[in-house]
Symmetry: C2
Subunit: 205 residues, 2 copies
Amino acid sequence: MGLRELKRERTRRLIADKAFELFCHRGFGRTTVEQIAAAAEVGPSTLYRYFPTKETLVLEFVEDCLMGAVVWFRGQPPVDLPDGLQAVIEHVLEELERNPDRVRAVYEMADQTPSVSAHLQELIWRFREELTEELVRRLSGPDPQLVEFTAALSAGSAMNIIETVVRMWVENPDGVEVKELARRAMSLLRGGGLPAPGDNAGHGL
Amino acid sequence: MGLRELKRERTRRLIADKAFELFCHRGFGRTTVEQIAAAAEVGPSTLYRYFPTKETLVLEFVEDCLMGAVVWFRGQPPVDLPDGLQAVIEHVLEELERNPDRVRAVYEMADQTPSVSAHLQELIWRFREELTEELVRRLSGPDPQLVEFTAALSAGSAMNIIETVVRMWVENPDGVEVKELARRAMSLLRGGGLPAPGDNAGHGL
DNA sequence: TCGATTTTGATAGTGACTACCATATGACTG
DNA sequence: CAGTCATATGGTAGTCACTATCAAAATCGA
């Protein structure tokens, strides 16, 4: 629209990029907000108007991937529940795979800095909440509590699969094919959250 | 043991209790660490020696329940994977149900304060990590990557069920029976993370 | 009781974050 | 183009969580 929105987006991107740059170079803990503001050539108060906390500067990309997938799913036509979950999972993974370095950097910072890890996990749970809400909207059933329950568990399964696949991918970038892992996870999800009775069950514990 | 360990545990409990009291009375954000230290009649530095962050003062109880269940499970004899997960889930839920008010208070604070929510979610993920580690130790298989994958997904399913049940219980304390919800979740887990094909599948989405 | 170890409390300091205000800048009207 | 309004910005001052350090006090072993 106007020139205002343009500059807003521009400075927002500038701040986030400079922040990520500094975080990768000096580490999250060794970088002060003041330094980021100086690098982006804005005042600290301006920075805080765009990003409420230091952690959001790190997690914006992941947040866009997760929440974007929910928004995308909201616009999709009705499908079966397993198909819908699979679609959401694949959508998220494809978006994340678009910037492998950024994903790895985020998880690295989360491993080193507890507060980043905490905010990352909270972001993932918020994704589950949003997805649950959408599933409830789509599901129908006589018992509303059962619908809520099923939706929450299903969304949680999707979250679970995404986190597991991404975590294994991050920890072993070259030895793991996201597509292959996702495919295995899909079959586990469809057959059940656990190894199916006739499959690889019977594992002694 | 000695008098030292005794006093240590005593002051630790004292600080945590006074903190929880103040949090419930004035709210998490309106209570300063200095006030907590004063209420427990210790210096702020002493408080920080026992609790690294303000949030840990809120979450100690939940952490004990979750991590205690993993430790308990570690001492259990080998069982089938679904049975083991069910046992862990029930153990956690029973421990949480022992102090309903405390659980509700924690979730209330988490809903009001983002940082508390973030640390709660991170705690839950740490529970998943610990459980995954124990499952890997117990599981056997030719492909170590598949073992890791199965363990992580299974532990995630347990985490998912616990969080879903507890959340519904907290949001509707009188209308939800934890035992009943847990039973439904168990059958969902055993039959699959999603409604089984012959059960309540076919929901339009 | 004496010496070694641990626990405590106080002090000073860093840095994230907030509230507030004066200024500047893009947007709309005559 | 001039004037006016809404919004964005930067600076200041302040709160509070948290850290580092160190001397004093409490506890333990002999």
